[in-house]
Amino acid sequence: MNMQAGIKLTAAEAALVDTYNEQLGDLPGDGATLLARDTLLSDLKKAGLPTRRIEAWHYTDLKALLRAVPAFVLGADAGRVDPIVPGSAVLSVVNGKAHARVMQEGITVRSYGEALLDGSAAGDLVARDSDDVIGRINGSFVRDGLSIDFEDGLVVESPVEIQSVQNCGQVNTRFPVRFGAGSKATVIERHLAVGKEAALVTSVTDVTLADGAEVTWIIFQSEGEADTHLAQFKAELGANARLRLYVINAGGKLVRQEIDVAVTGEGSDLTLRGINLLGGESHTDVTFNVGHDVAHTTSTEVIRNVVFDRARGVFQGQIRVAQDAQKTDAKMSCNTLLLSDDAEFSAKPELEIFADDVQCGHGATVIDIDHTQLFYLMARGVPENKARAMLVNAFVAEIVEELEDETLVEALEGVISDWLETHA
């Protein structure tokens, strides 16, 4: 109804259309790929960016918040950085250009750019539904990424870090990853900026866990203060598969991280832990959907938010339990520490349950620093600012410690306390 011809585009919408037309000649892909891109872009142009009237975007009015689109810069080189966890096997993506390489036996890595070129990825380039603006933008512009396959039964000791580093422009990547039956691995998906110039980053990760796979997946986002970061993480869990997903946001000006998990195998478990470290004038939205489609599955979601300055945060969490999904056990909580009068956080938990024999719950709290704890630390000689920082750190460290792996815990606590030291 609102899609009549001649609708006025915002500056950002017009820039997306223009940059598409400019890049059209060298976006990788065969005819089918090009057609898929065209469809996504024209849908984007027709519908425009979503406003708060679209329910899924109610707390993140993208049309109002996305003011401009930085120009695409071909061949920009942001370099590389050390991995978060020492000893990780790094797969490097520099300003959207992926560097596939030979890994240990059992891990196959292919350039996603090649899959676009030969047309085998054309089928990926579809929107999930009419609200899927990230899928539309990413699908229109995606140039590269990595397809990774962990063979059945493979146990990988050190983490694999997918390191997507950028310093400006437009970065659009995809990461389809398959974990074979019974495989075990830890993957760190890291998005970071090394420059101050604005960037528009979109990234779609599509993960499949075959039966019995056990995966720890950590998304660590530390884009720059001027950057827009729009990302999706999609996962499908086979029977008895376990996915432990950590999402840490510690950067960006405008951030939306969507998480869609389909729990489709009996006996499978999803553990989601989210940490949002928000400061400055940033806007960060984590929108999560889990669908329990079969019986005897579990999921727990704990989100901890620390909000300073004039930052705004959003968590939308939806648990859906299908009619056949009896004995589902799902619990979600969202706790926020608001550290300034101008800080804001909106939490919207939703349960949609069609089965009658399930245990599901959710809760949300907003708190301030505990004065008794603060007094106790100060009474031991810890100065007030340091004592406050320790308590803020403790609020999020509690869920990092659940990881148990000491190197991983230490590495994540390190990046968190670094952030707090510069922002608190």
């Binding site: 340091k386 403790a394 609020f395 460290a397």
Partner: protein
């Protein structure tokens, strides 16, 4: 060491006066016991000495080594050598006990212009002090006070006191919730710290603790004032006859 002069203090939030003209002097090296019935202001006094914001001093002064400490925040008082062993030590999930001990020791050293402790030196000090208080390494690996039993919490307080080497130790009902074995361990820990340049204020409801930490002076607190002072025999008198006689005599 400590001189409290005509101290009046109230709860900041609702203005309830708790301390009403309290006078007390504690000399260097002295162990002073403060006894009194429930609600006499004992715990409030300990919080005021440590600088808790929830209480407001409206009159009088607290002199520590001749200087008023009323304008100092809790961290500054701690750095000057005032230590409060809490009646209810606070649980802080997410803060590791060892990390907390290291930060506290080093922040105090930094504030006094001393070098920070090296990790081996720090570990050695903790190990030595913990052994004397029968604190296991496993307990030190837990988050601060989280999941500690009542006795473990009190021992952990004394451990902190031993490591921070304060000059004025205030023990707030350190005996509450302790069985006799735990009480002895805690008392031994305190006695080991007695020295001519360190004073101890022992706040307690019962005489029992004073059999193990023998005080030089005993003061009876009632309705926010010291109504009687004496030597350790006063504590025995209280144990035998209760507070009623003394309160009546003072009235």
């Amino acid at each position: 060491m400590l001189e409290i002069r005509n101290l009046h203090a109230r709860i900041a939030e609702d203005g309830t006066e708790i301390i009403r003209g309290l006078n007390l002097t504690v000399n260097d090296g002295e162990v002073a016991a403060i006894m009194g019935p429930n609600g006499s202001g004992k715990s409030t006094l300990s919080y005021i000495l440590a600088g808790r914001e929830e209480y407001e001093v409206t009159e009088g002064d607290i002199l520590y080594n001749g200087e008023s400490i009323l304008e100092l925040d809790p961290a500054e008082r701690a750095t000057k050598g005032i230590f409060l062993a809490f009646q209810y030590p606070v649980e802080i999930p997410g803060v590791a006990t060892m990390q907390f001990l290291k930060v506290a020791m080093n922040e105090q050293r930094k504030a006094r212009g001393e070098d920070e402790l090296s990790t081996p030196d720090f570990m050695r000090r903790v190990k030595e002090a913990a052994a004397g208080l029968q604190i296991s390494p496993e307990m030190l690996r837990r988050p601060l006070n989280v999941g500690f039993s009542g006795g473990e919490k009190k021992r952990a307080e004394i451990l902190q006191m031993a490591l921070l080497e304060p000059k004025l130790c205030v023990l707030d009902e350190t005996d509450s919730g302790l069985d006799i074995d735990a009480l002895k361990i805690v008392a031994d820990g305190v006695n080991a710290l007695r020295s001519p340049d360190r004073s101890v204020v022992v706040i307690t409801h019962y005489q029992r603790l004073l059999d193990y930490i023998v005080p030089d002076t005993v003061h009876v607190l009632y309705k926010g004032q010291v109504i009687k002072s004496g030597d350790k025999t006063l504590a025995h008198e209280l144990e035998a006859n209760g507070y009623a006689d003394i309160i009546e005599a003072a009235a």
